[in-house]
Symmetry: C2
Amino acid sequence: MSTWIRQAWIEPVKLKRLGDIRRKELRQAAFAVLEREGIAGATLEKVAAHAGASKGIVLHYFRNKQELFEHAMREANAVLRDAVVARLRLARTPTERLDAVIEGNFEEHLFRPPLCHAWLSLCAEVPRDEKLARIQKALHARMRSNLLSGLHGLTSPKDANDIALGVTALIDGLWLRLGLEPGSVSREQAIRQVKDFVSARLAMRRPETAGA
Amino acid sequence: MSTWIRQAWIEPVKLKRLGDIRRKELRQAAFAVLEREGIAGATLEKVAAHAGASKGIVLHYFRNKQELFEHAMREANAVLRDAVVARLRLARTPTERLDAVIEGNFEEHLFRPPLCHAWLSLCAEVPRDEKLARIQKALHARMRSNLLSGLHGLTSPKDANDIALGVTALIDGLWLRLGLEPGSVSREQAIRQVKDFVSARLAMRRPETAGA
DNA sequence: CTTTTTATTGTCCCACTGGTCAATTGTTGA
DNA sequence: TCAACAATTGACCAGTGGGACAATAAAAAG
């Protein structure tokens, strides 16, 4: 155990034990299958086949089907997070931070129907899988926090919260549209939509907040 | 055929042949099972059990599983449509029409996690089921048209289109939030969110539309 | 060169699923 | 009362899926 830690320290970037490689291959395969087959059609055998291995190996690295797909979701999640984080590092002003989050969520190689379909299938399982729910919740919390780091410089905390909720919902909704009717919304449209939302809400003199 | 039409005309409200009753029971049962089990866990036997019948009867009324769930989606769809239409009938001004659509989409007995979960599961299957895709598309088209009927009185056609897209996405996104993290968004919050979106976008002096 | 892990495969098992079908039980109409 | 017909059931079937496991290959460690 201490050995493992030491090695990880020495080789912080590629600490790939052999098993870790397989693991990654497998959860990526899982995700790929999910894209085409949905959760109902995503079978262990298909995942194995897609990774060029046997079904046995899948359960060698993952306790069961559930765990496999939980890791698949983590993977997908991490990809999205990295996309945003990369852009966030370059942002200086609050507005730039906002744009970083928005644009990162619609990156070219991510905002695609297949990916969206897999994401949808995973989301649909959230209510029945505590782990998925936690992962999802964490993703949302991070996104929200990223948004707030931009918004707090631009409006009151109360409105910031409100707008952040709206932005996350709007982003999810646009992804959903892409999944339900591919081609009905382009990357550029989506980005513009969200940006317009933000600027409109920021410009808005908030009406009597009393009424609800 | 002409007989059928004539009868439907004479008894426009309750044209219930016995079979139609069973059919309705079954697709409602299907939906109920979907709420708890998701698409992967929704089996014919469970649906039958939930309707207090045997599996055989399900396939007596529906060619196969797929058809059953397609009808389940139609059912759910119709419920939502009726909710909106009812409110729409009372609306007089464009603004009232907008509010009708918005509030109809978050009606108290509809905007609930279980219903949302089932809806999500169905959406996740859309990419693999042409019929589901069509149903979904139709629902979206109607919603869009309803929104435009309100928006066209309030802004330019171009902006109306844009805002309509945003509203549908935002509504879907808020539903999604309800499904992913029940309790994270209340009915009132959701409505306010969408209404604020609309009024903010309407108030907004659209910036240089050139840029994308 | 052993010994001990780790990686990998193929087989086996059992529960279960969608779907078919013949048989049974009402219902209805003559 | 009887035949025709729809509703409903239960048994059955072939296929599949998740998962356990023992056997084997390959590496690592010693």
